[in-house]
């Protein structure tokens, strides 16, 4: 059995097209089998609504009188990129407002624009003979713009990882707030409802595919940046006319201590051209797998702890080392479903036709890491010998060691060199002033540590964040193997 785009569009026009959502397709294939499902169903709709940092919009304001060529430009105090012709700009959703960073950003500007709210435009220029105006300060709404084009270089990841945190402090990341010692788990994406998951070989998805974007109609421009089909991390480059979108599906967000972003609603219709597509669109959460990744390790290649299905993720708990960790989504499953339903309604009402892509997405692209010219240095390269005292030693001996070695930090361990604490020269001075004589009264037990394979940058950030100047270096068994101080980092 095969169908063509033309046949399906004919059915849409006649009002007898059969459209179901990706979730409904699972049941249909289960009950009727692939052959019948492929026969009966013409289109499967998908949807996702989550934070998509690579999003933004091109805006054109029209010319002022006299004209201005903006050098710097702010929309509601959010700096826009202006490296194009005189009156064009790009507002990116992760750019934060100069005055209220971590509260308001480019994503909020786009949401406000689409909601019809007035936006303050402030710009300046070095002036030229053809563009003599030096400053603009005005207010406008989306209606006043010539073009407002949503243009997102990387959206709708095929799947995303599930994030946990093994470290001993709370992390604020683009994967949300991650509690220490595996306190919670977060995942993103809609699993079986996700657009690319339902056409993983990109048979029907490519340049020019008409889609649901931000509550209006949009198009796929091609593969997104960092498109990585072989690892099933495909992405999409999307565009659409902002003027016909709604703020329900474009929401500015801000992740505390991370920054701003935007939730984007994306829905793609998959035409059931053959039985293969019927089978692929019947994929269930059980079959969509991803990795549980430890964000406690601040490296590009973070440790993968296990594989997990979206079914388990959506159950509210993931199992890790025999323990059940509370797990929740960062993207809205409610809205993902609503998008798939809305797209289904549009098609049923004959308001949305399908089109074959001019070219399907690449299944070969490889995503490379950044080429770094300077060599990455690690703690093990720069650490020095730690000066160690045992926990039963006298304060006086600690003081002597500080003088002898000209070191500010003495590491306290037991006889097996397992880290117990740290004492600084200031602690000794304080002990003297307060008449304390026992080492255990002055030792700091909560010690921030580093390990041999931490990049130097990470050790430096730990010192900065904790306002300290040294980190004992320990191995997996907490045995002290050195110390790194701010001096080595200079």
């Amino acid at each position: 059995m095969t169908k063509t785009y033309a046949e399906i569009n004919e059915k849409i026009k006649n009002g007898n097209v059969v459209v179901v959502t990706a979730e409904e397709m699972i049941k249909i294939v289960e009950e009727k089998g692939i052959t019948v499902a492929a026969e009966e169903v013409d289109i499967v709709t998908t949807g996702t609504f989550g934070p998509m940092c690579s999003s933004g919009a091109f805006l054109n304001f029209g010319h002022a009188d006299p004209p201005i060529k903006y050098e710097h430009l702010w929309l509601n105090e959010v700096h826009a990129y202006h490296g194009n012709a005189a009156a064009d700009c790009y507002i990116g959703c992760t750019r934060m407002a100069d005055v209220r960073p971590f509260e308001y950003g480019g994503g909020h500007v786009i949401e406000d624009l689409v909601a019809g709210k007035p936006i303050r435009i402030r710009g300046n220029s070095y002036t030229t003979d053809c563009y003599p105006l030096a400053e603009v300060d005005t207010e406008l709404t989306i209606k006043d713009l010539n073009q407002a084009i949503l243009c997102n270089p990387r959206n709708a990841y095929q799947r995303y990882v599930c994030a946990v945190n093994s470290s001993d402090r709370t992390l604020y990341t683009y994967m949300g707030k991650l509690l220490p010692r595996f306190g919670n788990a977060h995942f993103a994406g809609a699993g079986a409802l996700n657009p690319l998951t339902n056409d993983p070989d990109y048979e029907t998805i490519g340049i020019g595919t008409r889609i649901f974007l931000g509550g209006g109609i949009g198009y796929i421009m091609g593969e997104g940046t960092q498109h990585s089909p072989k690892s099933r991390f495909g992405t999409l480059f999307l565009k659409g006319d902002l003027k016909q979108m709604t703020s329900e599906y474009l929401k500015g967000v801000t992740y505390p201590k991370y920054g701003t972003s935007m939730f984007v609603g994306v829905g793609i219709p998959i035409p059931i051209l053959n039985e293969g597509l019927a089978k692929k669109t019947a994929i269930s959460d059980n079959e969509v797998l991803t990795d549980v990744v430890d964000y406690g390790i601040p490296r590009r290649d973070r440790p993968i702890l296990r594989q997990v299905s979206y079914k388990e993720l959506k159950s509210g708990f993931v199992e890790l080392n025999g323990k059940f960790i509370k797990c929740s989504s960062l993207s809205s499953i409610f809205y993902a479903r609503k998008i798939a339903e809305t797209l289904k309604k549009w098609i049923k009402n004959g308001e949305f036709l399908l089109n074959p892509p001019a070219e399907t997405l690449s299944t070969e692209t490889i995503c490379k890491p950044l080429k770094q010219i300077s060599e990455l240095k690690f703690v093990k390269d720069l650490k020095k010998k730690a000066i160690i005292c045992y926990d039963d030693c006298d304060i006086k001996i600690v003081a002597e060691k500080i003088i002898q070695n000209n070191m500010n930090h003495i590491v306290i361990t037991n006889r097996a060199k397992i880290l117990l604490g740290i004492v600084t020269s200031f602690d000794i001075t304080k002990a003297l002033a307060q008449n304390k004589t026992e080492l255990k009264e002055i030792i700091t037990k909560r010690v921030v540590t580093a390990s041999d394979n931490d990049p130097i940058e990470i050790a430096a950030r730990k010192m900065r964040n904790n306002n300290i100047s040294a980190l004992p270096v320990i191995d997996d068994n907490k045995k002290v193997v050195g110390i790194i101080t701010s001096e080595e980092l200079m």
């Binding site: 949300g176 707030k177 967000v253 801000t254 939730f263 929740s328 809205s332 809205y335």
Partner: protein
């Protein structure tokens, strides 16, 4: 019911008698309340008490007489207008006061909130506020 956060500073309780006196000073008013959390931190003992609204004053007085430090903690309020049902707060809530219903929309059961405030700085829409 309102949640109050009581800190008994380290110097205040040297032994079990000090502790009993403080609790007895509350109990003599014949009030029933829930202890949501009892924890020992470096600065002393902290208690999260869930107290009937009309008894807050008496309890506060009884505790303050004993030099306990009181910090009234409101439970959180959710601004559903701004909530986008993402779920970023759900896995952080230790008591399931925040949870997703069968339609995957956020629900909030105020009575279950113990004012730990872990969720407040997790919301990308700033829709969770301490009361």
């Amino acid at each position: 019911m309102t949640v109050i956060n009581v800190t008994l500073p380290l110097e205040l309780i040297k032994d079990i008698n000090d502790y009993s006196k403080i609790i007895n000073d509350i109990l003599k008013h014949d009030i029933s309340f829930n202890v949501l959390k009892f924890s020992i931190i470096s600065s002393g003992v902290t208690l999260l008490l869930d107290v009937p609204d009309d008894k807050i004053e008496i309890i506060t007085e009884a505790l303050e007489e004993n030099n306990a430090i009181i910090n009234k903690k409101g439970r959180v309020k959710i601004d559903f207008e701004n909530c986008i049902d993402c779920g970023a707060c759900v896995a952080l809530c230790p008591t399931d006061a925040l949870y997703m219903n069968s339609e995957n929309r956020l629900e909030y059961t105020e009575e279950r909130c113990m004012a730990c405030l872990l969720c407040v700085d997790s919301c990308p829409r700033s829709a969770i506020k301490e009361e």
